[in-house]
Amino acid sequence: MTLSRARNGGAVYLLAAIPAGFLLVFFVLPILMLLSASVLKSEDMVPVAQLTAENFTTLLSHKLYLDAILRTLGIGVTVGALVIILGYPLAYVLTRTRSRWQPLLVALALSPLLASVIVRTYGWWVLFNRDGAINGFLQTMGLIKAPLLLLPSTAVIIVGLAHALLPYGILTLMAALNGVNPNLERAAMSLGAGRLRTFASVTLPLTSSGVIGGFLLAFGVAIGAYATPAILGGPGTQTMATLIYSFMMTLLDWSLGSAMGVILLASSFAVLALTMLAGRRSAS
């Protein structure tokens, strides 16, 4: 038995080596080059063999850059939290309802996934711009006299990103909720726990992996999102992503672009580590 399993495993490893090699060449190697480019000087876009910390000190000492970094992290955390808060009730209902409309409701909840981020951001721009629907409505109601300047705004970027990432959160949470046996909830209630108590001490802890996963997914995508901050933001609401685009494609300063990329990457890993640590603590 052990022998046959080992032999079987060998074939699988061999097959897995192909995609693993693909990832090593086209993912790990480029990331390593990015890491080294961030600590090298560059001439005409190409990094030269001269170590420097200048790229990072430039990014961390200029107020514009530092603000962008902090703004991006704030956006990521807020969007992650919003996605969970909004996604949970929906995912809960979709996994628990016995309505025959359930498949349709699921399709409806996930349908925004089919629209590109640009489609979804466009709607918010139409609502919030100076001649937009919200200003129009407020003026018609007589609540304001002159149109409000709602864009560019970090708050609207957050709304736009939460909207764009909500289906991902719902998917993650539904997967977690499906793993919960509804009989456990019934048992808790039959033993006298109220609905809130049942939710807080049975359902939520059992789905914590989905909550953490959904938050991380939303945070990671949000801090690296380019289109939404580019459309709903402006020069005063730069994020890491919009700055990286300027460095790489407009200013052609690949060193600064790489360094900012490394900061973005480090942020993702820091939050991943923190969340996993918190998850482990709550589990034990």
């Binding site: 192909i18 359930q102 699921v106 640009i118 539904m174 990671g220």
Partner: protein, 272 residues
């Protein structure tokens, strides 16, 4: 079952209705804006015109549109081919290097795809294969960012069957190949299908990576729109957005049922 509706249900469904509105209203707004008679994105629209829809269907836009479809299909297929062996390998509970392999696959999930994009741009340029930028680089990049989803959905569907099912099949005399073909792969099918649909959509919608590794003439729709946006918002983009929504929608409606993506997402509580 009584028809009387409990109060907690009313609260819950109201919340749910509001969240649905939040999700769908902006898309509905985009759709209506495309019918404006003037070259402004007014909502509610002023006048009625199909002019912007005609503009959206001009060759300027059908080219990138078809390019995006081709890119998404190729990325989805490549992701499935590379993902299946990974999913099967990771099923084994403990082997040397399992953690490393998992980190390797899930890395791109933790990494913003924009970082993967600039890394790939630099790598291909410095490695002297700058002419891969365009379709080849886009496929490579999209496979990298879609593999974590593929492996995850595969793992979920592979774990959904008790190991006993395979052991039972083997004990009843099925060879390892037969077990793989008759028990394991049919279970993996829903996961692979869901992963491919994810991959197709991620590729079709991606802008963060495509922004850096596309090239003029080989640009997906999203990048083209983003560049067009520098000249301001036009109702053409609204029409285009809705058009770009229809193709994947049709695809999922047909293909999603075929691979049973529904049963993958919500395993009915009725069945054991």
């Amino acid at each position: 079952m009584s028809r009387r509706i409990a109060p907690h249900r009313i609260v819950l469904w109201t919340v749910v209705a509001l969240i649905y509105a939040f999700m769908l209203v902006p898309i509905a707004i985009t759709a209506t804006v495309s019918f404006n008679a003037v070259d402004r994105s007014y909502f509610p629209p002023r006048g009625f015109s199909l002019h912007w829809w005609a503009m959206a269907m001009s060759p300027q836009w059908t080219g990138p549109f078809l390019f995006s479809l081709k890119l998404a299909a190729l990325s989805a297929i490549a992701t499935a081919i590379l993902g299946l062996p990974l999913g099967l390998a990771l099923r084994r509970p403990a082997f040397a290097g399992r953690g490393v392999l998992l980190a390797l696959i899930m890395g791109p999930l933790v990494l913003p795809s924009l970082v993967t994009g600039i890394a790939l741009l630099q790598f291909l340029t410095i490695a002297g294969v700058g002419d891969w930028l365009g379709l080849p680089a886009l496929i490579i990049g999209h496979v990298i960012i879609c593999l974590p989803f593929m492996v995850r959905t595969l793992s979920v569907s592979l774990e959904s069957i008790p190991r006993n099912a395979e052991i039972a099949a083997a004990s009843l005399g099925a060879s390892r190949l037969v077990v793989l073909r008759e028990v394991t792969l049919p279970l993996a099918r829903s996961g692979a299908g869901a992963g491919m649909i994810f991959a197709f959509i991620s590729s079709f919608d991606d802008i963060n990576l495509a922004l850096f590794v596309a090239r003029p003439g080989q640009q997906p729709l999203t990048v083209q729109i983003m560049q067009f946006l520098e000249y301001g918002f036009s109702p053409t983009l609204a029409a285009l957005s809705i058009l770009s929504l229809l193709v994947p929608l049709a695809l999922v409606a047909v293909f999603g049922r075929l691979v049973g993506i529904g049963s993958f997402i919500y395993q009915d509580h009725g069945h054991a």
